[in-house]
């Protein structure tokens, strides 16, 4: 059987600086395509309802919950996942230094919010930082560790290239 079908479409996504093709249904979530088709499992399905933030990725510089984005909506946008940070973001080192995780399941999502905040608003004050980080939930830590990690990064200058 060989058939052109309206059920599925071929899309090209710009993920971590690479153009990747995927065959998707219009209703497929970006989160599922990242995980199941590209093997980028850093983004986690904690609720698939936009409540927990563990699937957060960065789209055009801003943190976005990938369970609330259709894969087809992501065409033409720049997507960065935790794998794309490749250990080079100061936020990653700060999370290690300040023990900002325990089980690690929410960590990718928090890292993407923190990385975006550092890139977009490196002069953010405590209130603004809280505003940004409230989008995500961590069940293990006391949040104090995540706060300290983020604060330590905000004190540094962003090296935007």
């Amino acid at each position: 059987m060989f058939e052109f079908t309206a059920d599925k479409c071929l899309i090209e996504l710009d993920v971590n600086g690479e153009n990747k093709n995927a065959i998707v249904r219009p209703s497929d979530l970006l989160l599922d395509v990242l995980r199941n088709q590209f093997g980028l499992t850093g983004a986690k399905p904690g609720c698939k309802n936009g409540d927990c933030g563990s699937c957060t990725i960065i789209m055009d510089g801003w943190p976005v919950k990938s369970c609330l984005v259709l894969a087809v909506e992501a065409v033409g946008h720049t997507i960065l996942t935790v794998e794309g940070l490749a250990g080079t973001s100061p936020v990653q080192k700060a999370f290690v230094d300040y023990h900002a995780f325990q089980c690690g399941y929410c960590t990718s999502g928090f890292l993407m919010v923190c990385h975006s905040l550092w890139m977009m608003k490196s002069d953010a004050d405590e209130e603004e930082m809280e505003d940004w980080l409230q989008s995500n939930i961590c069940r293990c830590t006391s949040y104090k560790e995540i706060r300290k990690a983020m604060e330590s990064v905000l004190l540094q200058n962003p090296q935007k290239s």
Partner: protein, 775 residues
């Protein structure tokens, strides 16, 4: 010893910040099918008919399974739970059918075509109702079917799954000695573990019958045993894999989804099947935290010494008993809190209702009974006219005192609560009971609660450790402990590094557990991994050190006693220039002349709990766990009298940690527990309507703490070594949660001038009880 007091990073740190850390559902298997569950929309109903024919008609559907396909009863203590409901559903969310299909969309489509006809039955949502005359009996077979299960005492013809009692002293004489008394009733609704990783499992069966299960479990060895038992498979045919786990908090110690994944695979000829569970299903269908009703009567003499207590706990275990009978036992054995009460009359019942069934939750029920007991303590302190912190100091359990189950306390087995109380007084600058006015409508208050906990493991629980070496002389540490966030693997590596006098970077750990490769570790629960696996690691290290010494003694032609081992080498004490590096000796030694000496070094260590006993059925006398950890917590908040809202300022814990292994990690584990306690106390609960339907099945309706809502957390440590634990450490992974709800309840009761007897402590609740004029 240099590795001991050091702050070390988790071994898996960089994996967790780069997305490299893999959890159960991050792997795909070729040829994998997907399964989804159909659940009951009723709290309690007869299943009159299930029609799966339309579901079967969808192309791509591989199996539609109902309870009668696998009529097996499951349960870790009492086998009261069918894998899939048979004839009757007992809670809303109970799995009724399972669809296996080529992909998730097809499975969902088919699932929605299954027709089930129900006949609703009366719903019980409160243990008090469950015990009333004429209440529907949820498990008529309990007490008949499995009469010989040890240490569980179901009462046939009632909704009581088990009951325990503590009798000590002369209760009537005790009351006569009392000058002051309080008697209070408490109610705590159920809540959920809410680990960020939703529970899931997958299974496959090879042509020759080998079963492979990969799961998010805290108890892989228990999965193996239970599947073997239920389906009559030799345990050696079953392998259970657990990669990193995204938080457990006790909720992943229960064996449920693994069974569903197994029967799904069985029904499709053993093909790999992934069971997809949504957050909503995880909240409704998989086990949650218990609900509790209690009555506490406490009395103190004119010096403020507690003389008598009559306590009843009615633990609501929901529809199935799971591990809850043990939690009821744990509540009985520790239900006085860390206080010496000479005359004690305590009953603890485990009661079935139509709530989602309960399983272990961080601290195994201690967070729940502690709320009740410590609220009563505060009331009694007030009535006695004694400062509540002072009142706790007067009654704190001390060496020589007996616990409720008549174990004599020693500094080693119970630590030093008095020192904790003295320390917290300074740390929190204890202000006493009077609210301090900070604005016309705002007051600042503190509330205090003590905590203690012992584990209630099987009396013969085991652990093990094995050590191998790499060509560079570094070590591989192999245990059956699951890494779910509590940092166990790093702690064990640190213990091994200390024993070997080696830098921790030279110790490698494997995160995945494979029940065929790893030595059995009972379960990663009860904060016991450091104690049990830690002891096994110490023994394995001694084994390795002895083997290295033996080989080196032959190589140097000296006595073993002349040798010292440190920094990855073995050398002669009097002549450190005469040394051999691990890398040159651990695979056996090749002498300069080519002679081979010794053999490869392989370390082994085993551990089994010793000296524990089943509680006497009449008096409760016995030893339920290896030791207690004690501590005290204070919550400080600002309360707005106009609208009953409050802001948390500080939360303090002083705990007896036994010894410092990784000081920062200890503080963070405690702070994480405090955060969970604040969530539990201030907002979390599973809200059911009168028909037993969960009204808060998403994270939008089941609210958790977010950043910006938390107080500052401060942790103080007291060190009284536990003599039989590695380097004297004590269990503390769960403990940060235990006293927080009570401390918050005590603070708010003073601030709002009310008597908090429930959770969660929402402004609405505080306002409503203030209207009733009680205080």
């Amino acid at each position: 010893m240099s590795e001991l007091r050091r702050n070390v990073q988790r071994k898996e740190s960089w994996d967790k910040v780069t997305g490299n850390a893999k959890y159960c559902d991050d792997f795909s298997v070729s040829g994998m099918l997907t399964a989804r569950i159909l659940t009951s929309p009723h709290g309690h109903a007869i299943i009159k008919r299930i029609d799966t024919s339309s579901a079967w008609s969808i192309p791509g559907v591989k199996a539609v399974i109902t309870g009668k396909d696998f009529p097996v009863l499951c349960g870790v203590l009492l086998r009261d739970r069918p894998a899939l409901a048979i004839d009757r559903v007992r809670y809303c969310g109970e799995p009724v059918a399972l669809v296996v299909a080529l992909d998730e969309e097809t499975a969902l489509k088919a699932r929605d075509l299954i027709q089930v006809e129900y006949e609703p039955l009366p719903v019980i949502l409160d243990p008090a109702d469950a015990l009333k005359e004429g209440a529907p009996i949820l498990h008529p077979q309990v007490g008949v079917l499995f009469p010989d299960v040890k240490d569980i005492y179901p009462i046939h013809g009632t909704n009581i799954a088990s009951h325990y009692q503590i009798r000590r002293g002369e209760i009537q004489a005790g009351w006569k000695a009392c000058e002051y008394q309080v008697e209070e009733d408490y109610y705590l609704p159920p809540s959920d573990h809410l680990a960020m990783e939703v529970r899931t499992a997958r299974a496959q069966i090879s042509a020759d019958g080998k079963v492979k299960i990969t799961t998010t479990s805290q108890a892989p060895f228990s999965v193996k045993k239970q599947i073997a038992e239920y389906f009559k498979i030799p345990a050696g045919q079953i392998e259970v894999h657990v990669p990193l786990v995204g938080g457990g908090f006790g909720g992943k110690a229960s064996v449920m989804l693994e069974i569903l994944a197994y029967i799904a695979s069985r029904k499709v000829g053993g093909r790999p099947v992934r069971l997809v569970i949504t957050r909503e299903e995880d909240l409704q269908s998989a086990p949650c935290r218990l609900s509790l009703r209690s009555k506490i009567k406490l009395g103190a003499d004119c010096q403020g010494k507690i003389q008598a207590a009559e306590i009843t706990y009615w633990l609501d275990c929901g529809a199935y008993s799971d591990i809850a009978p043990n939690m009821a036992k744990s509540m009985a054995s520790n239900g006085t809190g860390p206080y010496y009460i000479p005359n004690l009359f305590c009953n603890s019942f485990c009661v079935y209702t139509n709530h989602t069934y309960a399983t272990s939750y961080r601290s195994f029920g201690h967070e729940s009974f502690t709320y009740c007991l410590e609220r009563a303590m505060d009331r009694l302190a007030d009535r006695s006219g004694i400062d509540p912190l002072e009142f706790r100091l007067i009654n704190a359990i001390r060496p020589g005192d007996l616990t409720p189950t008549q174990v004599q306390c020693t500094p080693s087995n119970t630590g030093n609560l008095v020192a904790c109380l003295q320390k917290v007084k300074d740390l929190a600058k204890w202000q006493g009971t009077a609210p301090i006015k900070i604005e016309p409508n705002k007051v600042r208050v503190q509330g205090v609660s003590c905590l203690w906990k012992s584990a209630s493991p099987p009396t013969n629980a085991v652990s093990g450790a094995m050590i191998t070496f790499n060509p560079d002389g570094s070590l591989n540490l192999n245990t059956g402990v699951v890494e779910m966030g509590s940092g166990n693997k790093t702690n064990l590596a640190q213990i091994l590094a200390a024993k070997m006098k080696l830098d921790i970077s030279q110790i490698h750990v494997v995160y995945d557990v494979d029940t065929r490769l790893n030595p059995e570790h009972w379960k990663t629960v009860a904060s016991l991994s450091g104690y049990m696996a830690g002891n096994a690691v110490c023994q394995a290290a001694d084994d390795v050190l002895e083997q290295i010494r033996t080989i080196a003694a032959q190589a140097f032609e000296c006595q073993k006693q002349e040798l010292e081992i440190a920094d990855g080498m073995v050398f002669i004490k009097n002549n450190p220039n005469c040394y051999l590096l691990f890398k040159d000796i651990v695979a056996g030694y090749k002498a300069p002349d080519g002679r081979s000496i010794g053999e490869p070094v392989l370390g082994r260590g085993g551990f089994m709990l010793k000296g524990l006993s089943i509680l006497d059925q009449e008096t409760g006398k016995g030893k339920p766990g290896p030791s207690w950890t004690v501590g005290v917590q204070i919550v400080e908040l600002e309360f707005d009298k106009r609208d009953f809202t409050y802001r948390l300022i500080e939360a303090y814990t002083v705990i007896d940690c036994g010894a410092l292994i990784n000081p920062q990690a200890i503080s963070e584990m405690i702070a994480g527990g405090m955060a969970m306690g604040i969530g539990l106390a201030s907002r979390e609960y599973l809200s059911y309507d009168f028909q037993g339907v969960l009204q808060s099945p998403t994270l939008r309706t089941y609210k958790l703490l977010h950043i910006g809502q938390e107080p500052d957390y401060r942790v103080g440590l007291v060190q009284t070594p536990q003599e039989d634990a590695p380097y004297g450490i004590r269990s503390l992974s769960e403990h940060g949660i235990i006293g927080i709800p009570a401390a918050l309840g005590n603070a708010l009761s003073r601030a709002a001038k009310v008597n908090c007897t429930q959770l969660p402590l929402t402004p609405e609740y505080l306002w409503s009880i203030s209207q009733k004029g009680q205080a």
